[in-house]
Symmetry: C2
Subunit: 263 residues, 2 copies
DNA sequence: ATATCCAAAACTGTATACAATTTTGTGCAC
DNA sequence: GTGCACAAAATTGTATACAGTTTTGGATAT
C-alpha cells in the first residue's frame, strides 16, 4: 500500500545521504549569514520532490495537509507553501477545496514533455560538449557512478532519479541557466510519465546511451553529442506506451485501482 | 515617484477592463460549481503581473507584504502566496527575511532570455502557421487591433503588454501547451529586460513585424513565419543595450537612482 | 431495495497572533 | 569627527484559530 506514510522512509533517506542532492551545488557562496540557510519549507520540497522522482509516491496520491504537517513536523502554513512550489513545477496538482495530489500527466502531456525535451536537449548537449571541462566530466562521471551503484544495490527509484539528474547536469554545463531550468522541469515531469506509462517488457535501454554520451563529451564532439541525445530521447519514448486507452472509464475505475494497488 | 501605491490605479484599470485579460480564455468550462472561480490570490497575481508587464512597477521596487495587504484588502497569507507564485515566474525576487522585490534580470539573464526565445519561438511560429484556423487569425488580429488602440491612446505600457501577449497567443495556437508556458515565462521576463535595458533612440520596430507575421499566418506559410519570427527577435535584441557596464558600482548607486527616479 | 436529502465530519481557504530576523537610529568610546 | 556597539522599530517567518466548502454517512420516503 503506497501512501504518504512511506515518506517517513523518504525523509530519513534524504537526511542520511544528502550528498546526492548536493552533488551539483558545490559552490554555495554565503553572501549573508542566513541568506542561504535551508528552511523547513525547502527541506520539505526537496524530500517530496525526491520521493516523487524515486517513485515512492505514485501519481495520484493524495497529499493531505494535516498528514504532511505531521510527517514533517511543521505547520500547515509551511506545508501549503511547499505544495504550491511543487505545483508550480507541475509535480503536484492542486484542486480547489479538494487538496493536493501527485500529478498525473495525461498522455498528451506526456507526448508534449518529450517533444519539448527533443527540442531542447540535443542542442544543449551539443553546447555542453563544445565547452566541456575536466570538472564537468568529473561531475558527469560521478553521476553515472552513483547511478550504477544504486542499480547494483537494487534501488531502482534512486537510479532513475540519478539518471534524470545526469541530463540536468548536462544542461547546467551548457551554461544556459534558463534552458537548464526548463529541462529540469521537463525531467521532473518525465519521471511521472515514466511512472504512468512505462511498459515493463522494454529493457532499461539507457545504460549504454549515457556511456556513449560520455564518450562524445570526452572528445568534446558537439555534433556527436547532439545526435546521441536525439536518439537517446527517441529510445526512451519508444519504451513508453502512449497509445490512447480505448474505453473512457479509465478516469474512474483504473485510476483508483492504480492508486490503491501500487507499491 | 514610482511606488506600490500606484497599484491603486493598476488594480482599478484591471477591474474596469478585464476584457483584455480574458481575450484568450474564451472557453472556460465550469466542471465544478466553485472549481474555476477566481480567488483573491489569483486576482492579486493577475494585477501585479499586469502592473509589472505594463511597467507601472519598475524592476527593483520593494513589494512589502503589509503594503500589499492594505492595497488589495487581503491578509498577508494571501499576499505571500501571490508573491510566491510571481517568484516562480521570475517576475519577483524573494530575499530571505528581506522581502519581495520586482525582479531585476542581469545582463546575462537578459541575453539568455532572448537566446531561449530564439530557440523556441521561430519553430513555434512555424507550427502555428501550419495549423492556423480562422478563429486563430481572429484572435491574433484582435490583439493587434487592441495594441494599436492602446498605442493611439498613449498607453505605452498597455501596448507593450499586448505586444507580448501576441507572441503568447501564437505559441498557444501552435498547440504545444508546455512550450507555450515556457514562452509565456520568457515573455514575462522580456518585459523586465525591456524596462531595464531598452535604449530610447531605437524606434519601436515591431509594428510592421507583427503585421508581416500576420501575412504569413494568413497564408499558412510556416517557413515564412519561422523566418519572420527569427528576424523579429533579432530586431528586438538589437534595440537593447546589453553591453556590460564598465564600472562595478552599478549595483549600488545607479540602482537606487533608477528606482527612485523613474515614473 | 433503491434513491434522495440532510446533517455531521473532514478538509481546505483565510485571517490573525506570535516569534525570529533584519534594519535603523542613537549613544558612547576613541 | 568617525567608527563601533547596542537597542528599538519594522518586516518577514511560522503557528494557530476560525470560516467556508466538499465529502461522507445515515435516515427517510418511495
Amino acid at each position: 500500500m503506497l501512501s504518504v506514510k512511506c515518506l517517513y522512509r523518504a525523509v530519513h533517506t534524504y537526511k542520511m545521504i544528502p550528498m546526492d542532492n548536493l552533488i551539483h551545488h558545490p559552490m554555495e557562496t554565503s553572501l549573508s549569514p542566513t541568506a542561504n540557510r535551508e528552511t523547513p519549507r525547502d527541506r520539505m520540497v526537496q524530500a517530496l520532490s525526491q520521493a516523487i522522482h524515486e517513485h515512492h509516491l505514485a501519481p495520484g496520491t493524495k497529499l493531505g495537509e494535516d498528514e504532511l504537517s505531521d510527517v514533517f513536523s511543521v505547520s500547515r502554513t509551511v506545508v501549503r507553501s511547499a505544495l504550491q512550489s511543487l505545483a508550480h513545477e507541475n509535480l503536484v496538482e492542486l484542486k480547489r477545496n479538494r487538496g493536493a495530489f501527485v500529478a498525473r500527466p495525461t498522455i498528451r502531456e506526456a507526448r508534449e514533455v518529450f517533444e519539448a525535451r527533443a527540442l531542447l536537449e540535443p542542442r544543449t548537449a551539443r553546447s555542453a560538449a563544445e565547452r566541456m571541462t575536466p570538472e564537468g566530466l568529473a561531475i558527469l562521471e560521478a553521476h553515472i557512478e552513483a547511478e550504477h551503484k544504486a542499480l547494483a544495490a537494487g534501488e531502482a527509484g534512486k537510479a532513475l532519479r540519478l539518471s534524470g539528474q545526469f541530463h540536468i547536469e548536462i544542461s547546467r554545463l551548457a551554461d544556459q541557466t534558463i534552458i537548464a531550468n526548463f529541462i529540469e522541469q521537463l525531467i521532473a515531469r518525465s519521471s511521472l510519465v515514466i511512472a504512468l506509462y512505462w511498459q515493463r517488457q522494454s529493457a532499461l535501454c539507457d545504460k549504454h546511451a549515457h556511456h556513449a554520451l560520455m564518450e562524445a563529451f570526452r572528445a568534446a564532439d558537439g555534433k556527436e553529442a547532439e545526435a546521441l541525445m536525439t536518439s537517446h530521447l527517441v529510445d526512451i519514448v519508444s519504451a513508453l506506451d502512449l497509445r490512447e486507452r480505448p474505453h473512457g472509464d479509465t478516469n474512474l475505475k483504473d485510476i483508483l485501482s492504480r492508486i490503491g494497488g501500487t507499491g
